[in-house]
């Protein structure tokens, strides 16, 4: 069962602006404590998304591999 979230963004097929930008925008528009999921099939997301979450001080809650894409779940911490 995928983790239930406040907001899920299907960024599959997004090369520009890309899944990370979609995640950053969702984090900006969310409340502290919210869980946000982003779906990406860009292999770069596996490094980019955790790196940004770390720098911005938010949590990576899950990184779930599905067929042909990955589902990242983040928690807005501050």
């Amino acid at each position: 069962m995928p983790l239930p979230v406040q907001r899920e963004i299907d960024a599959r097929g997004s090369f520009c602006p890309g899944p990370l930008m979609e995640l950053i925008r969702a984090v900006r528009g969310s409340e502290v404590g919210d869980l946000i999921a982003v779906l990406s099939k860009d292999p770069g997301s596996r490094t980019d998304i955790p790196a940004w979450l770390k720098k911005a001080g938010h949590d990576l809650v899950a990184m779930e591999d599905e067929v042909g894409y990955t589902r990242f779940v983040a928690r807005k911490v501050r």
């Binding site: 907001r7 963004i9 299907d10 960024a11 599959r12 097929g13 997004s14 090369f15 520009c16 602006p17 890309g18 899944p19 990370l20 930008m21 979609e22 950053i24 925008r25 969702a26 900006r28 528009g29 860009d42 770069g44 980019d48 790196a51 940004w52 720098k55 911005a56 001080g57």
Partner: protein, 382 residues
């Protein structure tokens, strides 16, 4: 009975859809109304050139009527409300219009107020008056630290700040100010540009031109007294001149009609462009919440899809399976300065493979700038 099509917004998406529909439908097949708040069609890519003194503002706007098929009725008014229950749009001045099919192409609104002091402390080239103001500031600039950054996501034309960095570097060199100016490019991501392959082309040119790259900087606040900006990620940057992409949101009417989701963007099906939760309503261009570039090019490739869906509904047939599906196609140029550019072409399934920047793509971009009025709004080449 004659059907009514109402298109709200006469930008790239709305104007093109109106013209394509007029051509596609049989005479008398439908009444088409295009409602636009200004009655002027604006070529926004030109704002960048205006800011740098490379183009004249007069070149950037034309009367919408002059670009519109005779069979479309132009209404210059602002849509203040959309009633999907009654299938009507309410105009601010001229009453209301009924629709059988509705297209929302209201673009973005710049949301300066989302960041206190943004307007007094920084500059931008995201609207014509802003570009003219920046042009003055650049004329009076005598050197110091110039920062270029992004103060909100999403924003239209993702390559524009990168292009500005290259072009302002050239501008400052011409004026003999480059060795007195530090240019810092504040990227929201961990690389120079969102698309990795393009970033690999851009980053070495930044280095060669002495443009300093700071990564993971999403501008969150500006301090006008200290000439300092702070990022969402917790860093601060001093500046003498800050050029920032302002926060964007969807159009007011998208928000007040209750159709839009967070940020005022309209949820749509990524292939059919039908607005989620409403019947006979489509959206295209910057107004949607699709996770793809907000660009004129996107609207350009979406318009034929909306046209086919609506034409099929009016003609009582099922839509052509291929032409009624948007595959995510976008084609954008990226200027790298010194008369060079590259091109980014991609869709939902195919990432871009940008060629090395060259004079060829720069020339193509300028040919496009000039040919725009005669090609894009008319749907030539779609």
């Amino acid at each position: 009975m004659t059907k009514d099509v109402v298109i709200v917004g006469g930008g790239v998406g709305g104007l093109l859809t109106a013209n394509l529909l007029a051509r596609k439908l049989l005479p008398g097949g439908a009444r088409i109304h295009l409602v636009d708040a200004t009655g002027m069609h604006v070529y926004q890519p030109g704002f960048l050139y205006v800011a740098l003194g490379l183009a004249n503002a007069r070149w950037l706007a034309r009367d919408t009527r002059s670009l519109l098929d005779r069979r479309v009725e132009l209404v210059v008014d602002r849509v203040g409300g959309i009633d999907t229950e009654a299938s009507r749009v309410h105009l601010e001045v001229g009453g209301s219009l009924p629709y059988d099919q509705l297209v929302i192409a209201t673009g973005c609104t710049l949301d300066y107020d989302a960041i206190p002091h943004l307007r007094e402390a920084s500059y931008t080239f995201y609207s014509l008056p802003d570009a003219q103001r920046l042009r003055e500031a650049l004329r009076n600039f005598r050197g110091g630290t110039l920062v270029i950054g992004v103060a909100g996501l999403p924003y239209k034309c993702p390559p524009a700040p990168v292009e500005f960095a290259f072009l302002v570097d050239e501008f400052l060199r011409r004026r003999g100010l480059r060795d007195r100016t530090a240019i810092r490019f504040l990227s929201p991501l961990n690389r120079a540009f969102t698309i990795e392959s393009a970033s690999k082309l851009v980053a070495p040119i930044f280095a060669k031109r002495g443009i300093e790259l700071d990564t993971f900087v999403n501008v969150e606040s500006v301090d006008p007294e200290r000439h300092e900006l702070s990022s969402l990620e917790g860093e601060t940057f001093k500046f003498d001149l800050a050029v920032l992409v302002p926060p964007h949101k969807g159009a007011d009417v998208a928000i007040t009609s209750g159709l839009a989701g967070p940020g005022g963007w309209l949820g749509v099906d990524r292939h059919t462009l039908r607005v989620t939760g409403a019947e006979n309503v489509y959206a295209l261009g910057d107004a949607t919440d699709l996770p793809i570039s907000k660009s004129g090019s996107t609207a350009h490739f979406e318009a034929p899809v909306v046209t086919e869906e609506i034409a099929a509904a009016i003609e009582g047939r099922s839509p052509d399976q291929v032409r009624s599906r948007y595959g995510g196609k976008v084609v954008c140029f990226l200027e790298t300065g010194r008369r060079q550019a590259t091109i980014l072409s991609f869709d939902y399934d195919h990432p871009p493979v940008p060629p090395r920047p060259s004079l060829l793509w720069h020339a193509a971009k300028w040919a496009f700038n000039r040919a725009y009025w005669y090609t894009v709004p008319q749907g030539r080449g779609v």
